[in-house]
Amino acid sequence: MTDQTMLVRAALFRDRWSTNGDRTGIRRQSTQMTVEQLKKLEILKDLKDSVLEELIPDISVAQWEPGAMLFEEGSYLDLAFYIVEGDVDLFLQKHEGAAGPIFNTRQLTARDIADARQQVPQSPQSAGAVPASPSSPEQFTYLSTMDFDLARGTTQRLTKGDIFGEIGALNGWPQSVTARAATLTTLVQIRLPALRKLKRAATGFKAHVDRVYRERTLLHHLRTTPPLRGCSEMALEALARKVELRSLEPNEPLTREGETADAVYLVRSGFLKLSQSLGAGDLVVTYVSKGMTIGEVEALIDGVVNWQVSTVAAGYCEVVRIDVADFLELVRAHPAVEARLWESTVARIKEAGFTRKNPERAELIEFALARGLAQGNSILVMDLDVCTRCDDCVRGCASTHEGRPRFVREGERFGNFLVPRSCFHCEDPVCLIGCPTGAIRRTNVGEVIAIDDALCIGCGSCADNCPYDAIVMHDTGTVWPEHALPERLRGEERLVASKCDLCHDSDAGPACVNSCPHACAFRVSSLDEFDALLRGETPAHALLRGETRADGQ
């Protein structure tokens, strides 16, 4: 390990409340706060004591040095920041040539954003330093994770009373800007569990979050939603003013089959499970995820006035509710959009019909939602009808990763297939949240998430966060050296987090698949591919796509 790595790690580890920040230092940070202290904060003053008590473990106040980097674009946060005192500058920076090991997360996305920005008309405000909106408690400035109003080379200054980062934290999106303390700045740092509680308990806070989302992000979200692409700006702006934003708890129902369908819903984050009654029970017919819609079937087909499906949230979910009349007004004015919606409507009906005829498909969907497969971009599955349990897949993995295998040949079974506990490379990787050194990050190869061993301090945060037990802590058999940083590591057993990196640095593709002598290990990147495998169809396309993705081509 180089001294440089130690220095980087030390700089980063000083505070677990900051994620992936290039820490020039927090001058002071609160220990656990009391209800009375929390009540003094403008943002929390109206909350009941019982709610504040629940928030205590996930809220701290920190005083940041001028110039301190709070986070960089592309990083994942489980934090929102509320400015109590001081100023924060938000800006975009180029990643090209940046050699730092921490801030390379999701470079492609950063570039994509830059590219996309060039196609979006710049707001008149975007030239030069832009003052934030007036900072009264009633007027927070919100910076979304997809703020396309901020041009490269310009800075937006946030001041007292502004809040930022919450949409990224709530939705699992990476930050699209870099934030730096412009002056000595005092920030209330609110972690994700507290954010969720705040949204439920504080109507004012929810209203603020919704309003700033509506102002900054909603329009872009509508614009980039596949069914609505091609709508005029004016029509989308009008629509954006009318929609309602809703947050759903896990298993909270959204629609009930047979009730009047009066809206179309657009998913902002999370998953919705769609089911239809069949016999004495409900059959899950499909699920929808970020960027997808429900309700177009009921809206478009004459004579269908009731919901054809019951919908519940599979986990935390954020949706945009569009009144059916507003929706129809929009699509009638845009024939191309209507035609596309008809296509998706027909596809949805076909899918529901297919699932009703093939109930095992419903079982697969439920399994995929419950076990996280729906989240995955590359899932290792093994055909147990062919697998001879030789473990060459595990040995192949170990031999290409310094003797430490990145998965075990155990896990959930579906049909004759085993889904080993190997990283799914999730769409919304919660493992990235809270890594104190930024050792775990997205590579610039597809959706691959990898861990930099040199920066990992073995804290286990990523392993704790992973809902699918796909990250294991390996004991390296050594202890941290006497010059290790942070100092508290010295002499301690050296652990390192380990997970599948999809062998992204190799042209040969994943070693597990490569090493299997019986061709029973596959990488699937969608439920349809898994379904094809289960039905015994040729997995050629699944393999091709999986390997291509792994190769980053």
Binding site: L384, T388, N416, D507, A508, P517, H518, A519, Q553
Partner: protein, 287 residues
């Protein structure tokens, strides 16, 4: 876009057994063509008196057998060199190993004119070649048969090396469960379950029925169940589940070990055969 190799080419519409046994029809077809050509050449050679090992064609068969033999053992090398990713997929090597192994034996037979050699060394070489190929084919049958048994009959999937530890865990859970259970449950546990929970117990029945006859064993539980109040029924159900899991682990233990054990029939013979082959080549060249 980089084109990745597509190596498992199941045929749509083909019967399940065909897709299970023949992962790539192309390889089978290729093997059939090469084997037919070899036999055709051999048949033609016999017409011209080229059927002995010492004849030109006979020597050619022997050299071809040695070359194919080397290609066949490359599979073992590939498995031990997984770090070198540029060597290609292990699956290709296994296909060469299987089809090449049979072709090797065919070439050996052609080399010896389909007769048993008389000399000690050549006889040993012939016998070990035959043993190596037959044991390999036996292993192939096991590798097709046992995974289907494991996949179709069992609900748990477990690594064989972990089974002893997991059984201890099951035993502890079962002990804790029956401590507070009704006497009929405890009696059933002492009589039927506890002896099974002692450790991994390989049994022949698993080769036929991977559940180990669980359904008939469950009837004893069902009989007791009728006599119990609700709370004890739940305990009995849990005990039954632990018992079933244990039987499944025994099935894994038995069958997965078999999948490894057959290699003792195959690999030492292969090593011996190659040693003899080197000697054989040496003597042929020397004399």
């Amino acid at each position: 876009m980089k084109k990745a190799a597509i190596y498992q080419q199941k045929r749509a519409g083909a019967p399940g057994w065909f897709n299970k046994w023949v992962q790539s029809p192309r390889w089978l077809l290729g093997f059939a063509i090469v084997a037919t050509l070899c036999l055709a050449v051999y048949a033609a050679g016999t017409v011209y008196g080229q059927s002995t090992a010492a004849s030109t064609l006979g020597m050619a068969y022997g050299i071809a057998a040695a070359i194919v033999g080397v290609a066949v053992v490359a599979y073992g090398g590939r498995r031990r060199a997984q770090r070198i990713r540029s060597l290609g997929r292990t699956w290709y090597y296994l296909e060469v190993h299987v089809y090449g192994g049979v072709l090797f034996l065919l070439l050996v037979f052609m080399h010896t004119a389909f007769r048993v050699p008389q000399g000690l060394l050549t006889w040993l070489l012939w016998v070990t070649s035959l043993w190596m190929t037959v044991s390999g084919l036996f292993g192939l049958v096991l590798q097709k048969w046992i995974p289907t048994l494991l996949a179709s009959g069992l609900s748990v999937e477990v690594h064989v090396d972990r089974i002893p530890d997991l059984i201890v865990e099951l035993r502890n859970r079962a002990d804790a469960l029956v401590e507070t259970a009704a006497e009929p449950v405890r009696a059933l546990y002492r009589r039927e379950v506890a002896p099974v929970m002692e450790g991994p117990q390989p049994r022949w029945i698993y080769y036929i029925d991977a559940t180990g006859g669980f359904r008939s064993k469950a009837r004893r539980f069902e009989h007791i169940r009728r006599l119990l109040p609700g709370a004890d029924q739940a305990a009995l159900d849990e005990l039954l589940e632990l018992y079933r899991t244990k039987l499944e682990m025994d099935a894994h233990f038995t069958l997965q070990r078999t999948l490894r054990a057959w290699l003792y029939l195959h690999v030492p013979a292969a090593i011996l055969m190659f040693g003899l082959l080197v000697l054989h080549v040496f003597f042929v060249l020397y004399y």
